[in-house]
Amino acid sequence: MEIIQRLVRDDRQKIIVALTLFMIGAIGLFIIYVSGSEERLAVNLPVKSIFLIAYGIAGFSVLRTALMKLKRKDWMNEYFLMSLASLGALAIGEWPEAAAIMIFYEIGEYAQLIAINRSRKSISDLLDLSVDFCIVERDGRHVEADPRDVEVGEIILIPAGSRIPLDAEIVEGRGEIDTSALTGESLPVAVDVGDKIMSGSLNLNTVLHAKVDATVDDSTLYRIIELSDEASLRKGKTERLISRFARYYTPVVVVLAVLFAVLPPLFTGDPFLTWFERTLNLLVISCPCALVLSVPLSYFLGLGLASTRGIIIKGGDVIESFAHAETIVFDKTGTITTGQLELSRIESYTDLFKEDELFALALALEKGSTHLIAESLRRSAEERESRGERVVLPEIQGLEELPGRGVKGKRGDSVFYLGNARLADDIGLVVPDTDESLSVVFIAMRQETKNASDSKTVLLASLLFQDEVREETPHILQKLKKLGVKKLAMYSGDRKSVVKRQAMALGIDRYEGELLPQDKLRYLEDDIAAKGRNASVAFVGDGINDAPALSIADVGIAMGAIGSDTAVEAADMVLMRDELSAIPEALEISRKTKRFAMQNISLALGLKIAVVFLSLFGIGGMWAAIFADVGVTLICIANSFRITRGSKLDWRHAGEKAYGVYCR
């Protein structure tokens, strides 16, 4: 009894045993046929009962479930219909067919289970980069601790060759890390004191000491895992359509089956038995499972494939939408350009301050700001100090940010401004022409006097920055065009002359400069309003202050912004690697995934419809229906797995590639 119970519970064993019995039975039938002893019951019955046993083993759980559901008056389900089809076959003496229906149904179900488990495992293995212990510096000693118990600000020691347990900033040591598991970037990245390192990366060759930036729950790795879990819950139109379709599929097949059984014999006078057999064929294909599974399976693999390339897509809906991208809008800085502004020179207009004083003043005004200008100035300051120059910051009070314009602050009775052309306009200054290929901010000073109308604003200097176009940009934009993206646009807060020059050189269709954040939004809204049916508009930003644009675009893409909560929340796609090439790659993955899902749908539907018609004309019979049903499941699954071909997720390379690199 126990053996039988185990047999029925273990899908694989059940299938193997039933299939073996089926083969033995088939050989038996063949021998009977060859020896011409079809009429001898003594030989015939034992052989046929082998099929009956196979039927019982394979079909027990289906029959039981069908009965359970029937008790609740639920008969519109595939368990009941499969039971009906196979019992019908038994009733008309087709025992081998009855056994085959159940065996192949179970094979189909089992294949689906394997497909789900395999794809789940290959993706979770890729993301299973968590480290169970780390070395922390406490009271001057190094102790082992669970990363979950480590607090922000503690110093951890990361030995060479081990995985980085928590997001941290290097305080001692320099070396190389391998971020490929997170970013898909296979080249090692050089890191030095002050650099941030992400959990999940591999420290390659030296010991690093680093200050912890985030707890386990806030770490990059955990976020990625959470995002990819969440992605499976966001469904695209196709997936929703197919599951709605599945709801009607079974009833429609049942109605067809009833019509098949009743109508033709009435009109043509064919024997009922002929049409009863054809009816059973329809019941055999009454399970829509292959059809319904193939879409989420394809999308899941597509999302997984993207994540191996450092592209985190937040759901199947995003894949569908991005596959039809018609317009891609770039926020220039940090996407088209590197976003690493470089101070090329300071043009002074007065004798009031020397160059180094102007620099220090600018730095003091931008103190505490996260703006790119501020970052550039800080880098520049480090450089100056490393050359032995001293940067002495003047004391500035009442620092105030002027959004979209710049900053202002006070020193004694002087008010200082640092900002763009818009700010100059506001305070009534005319800025002299400067090199048009460079971005510019200026510094001005207003002397407060007793009589307000006497106070005069003096333009002190222009700071000229270079925002370099990424080396890869021209090539990538061309590629996007080749992929069929109709319109490329670039909206920027940078000065018009710079935007124009860069856009012309890159062949960008539409560009606007000197925009405030709300202007960029307005232009983006216009693009969205102008798009074609079923087309989408994508917005690419660096994740700094562009959350509104990321969320209103059909597909908001944040580049290298996993660290920013608001960007991750607002975006539909987060690029872990700071490379523009991830965008055409994401486009290709989205299209490929969509294409395979559609292939599966048409294949599954086509085959099922074919069976209906063949049965109608009495061609093929039950065997054709059985093989069409399980065949389509297997083909759809195999087809879905082709999405990951050649990637880290490819199961054929699973041993060496996906797992080999990640053993700890």
């Binding site: 595939e78 689906q112 789940r120 599951s243 399970c287």
Partner: protein, 73 residues
């Protein structure tokens, strides 16, 4: 409305998951629900006051539609 994440095991039937999703969505106090057959995740937006009954009914729906599937609460 609060969002709740649960896990389930024991089924590879995508059509059943879609059916279960439909049934849970109809429950009183459920804002939205999404079930993934691929990851075995269930995400329910629900009225916190009715949490207990929604969870029990969801469990029953799983049992009824796909007896082999188990919702973990």
């Amino acid at each position: 409305m609060r969002t709740l994440r649960l896990r389930f095991t024991g089924t590879a039937c995508a059509a059943c998951c879609a059916k279960i999703e439909d049934e849970i969505r109809k429950l009183n106090g459920v804002g939205d629900v999404s079930i993934s057959v691929m990851t075995g995740l269930v995400k329910i937006k629900l009225d916190p006051e009715k949490k207990e009954s929604i969870l029990n009914e969801s469990k029953a729906i799983f049992d009824r539609i796909e007896p082999s599937a188990k919702l973990q609460i």
